[in-house]
Symmetry: C2
Subunit: 187 residues, 2 copies
């Protein structure tokens, strides 16, 4: 994976809205973990808000809730076996970073590490915890985004359940059919 470049945070939607599996890294008081996440959504451009569901039974849940931070890392098809391995073991009894030899880099704004092999990294701070108790739903603000400049449309993986993924395929532009007000500024 080549060098990453800064992305304006309001443009995170380009990577998150298509609905890929993400790898969530967290760190609280020196303890860190990584988990898979397929249940998330964009909520706003500015501030750059994203809703993320992390089950209360997951080891990451308390790390995220207490540190109030995380990083959303975007894996692509080349990482699928790593993604499956991360999703199928628990941080309660596994050091996934060591066992899976995950290469990490320090983040800029949060304590959780970046996963170097991922295509993009979205550093997040908890913006609203009102829905955590009822739904395990965290509302994060993306405070820093970095992305590999190429390819522009990475081959992300999208989970359908039951061990089966679909991979992002053909890119289709209908830009010329859009009203100008719906284009630009990340919209």
């Amino acid at each position: 994976m080549g060098r990453k470049v800064d992305l304006p945070v309001h443009r995170a939607r380009a990577y998150l809205e298509p609905g890929p599996v993400l790898l969530v890294t967290s760190c609280h008081e020196g303890e860190r973990n990584v988990t898979t996440m397929g249940w998330h959504m964009v909520l706003e451009f500015t501030p750059s808000l994203v809703g993320c569901l992390i089950s209360a039974g997951n080891h990451s849940f308390e790390l995220v809730r207490q540190s109030r931070e995380c990083v959303l890392n975007l894996p692509t098809i080349g990482m699928i076996d790593t993604v499956v391995a991360i999703g199928n073991r628990s941080g309660h009894d596994h050091d996934k970073f060591a066992e899976l030899a995950l290469e990490t880099e320090p983040a800029t704004e949060v304590a959780a590490p970046l996963l170097a092999d991922c295509h993009a990294h979205f550093e997040c701070r908890l913006a609203d915890d009102k829905m955590v108790d009822d739904y395990n739903l965290f509302l994060f603000e993306i405070v820093k985004a970095r992305v590999a400049p190429r390819p522009k449309h990475p081959r992300t993986i999208h989970y359908t359940g039951d061990g089966v993924f679909v991979v992002a395929g053909k890119v289709v532009s209908r830009r010329s059919d859009f009203r100008p007000a719906l284009l630009g500024n990340g919209r």
Copy 2:
């Protein structure tokens, strides 16, 4: 589009978790509309909960808020021009059903119509409106789901912004690498 079959509502995740653009139909006191939606997430299997963002400026917002119902229809790549046309005109001043000659069918549980050309239909009732005022975020319960039996993995479209979509491509199974507890029952 061939005849659709019932789907257990907890299995809606197979179609929604990958993150496709949806077409949301609504109806309140005889007035109906349809809008595109890319900001949504699965929140629970049972009850079958999904979070959906519908902007307050959209004509559909009040129809959904007041009727407390909608249908999430799943379009595929063959409908992309219809999807773009729906997203680029407002129900405030357009009857999109008439202008775009959208074929509809009655739903079972709600007043909003099904879009016949879509691959699947998820009939929804508003389950929690606590996040509507702050975030335009509706939590719906899927109360009825119908889907075309084939293909099992439809070529859905996923929006990246700026008029550009990615299409669901290759299907990759890693089922044999999953812990049994993470498979079956729609999980």
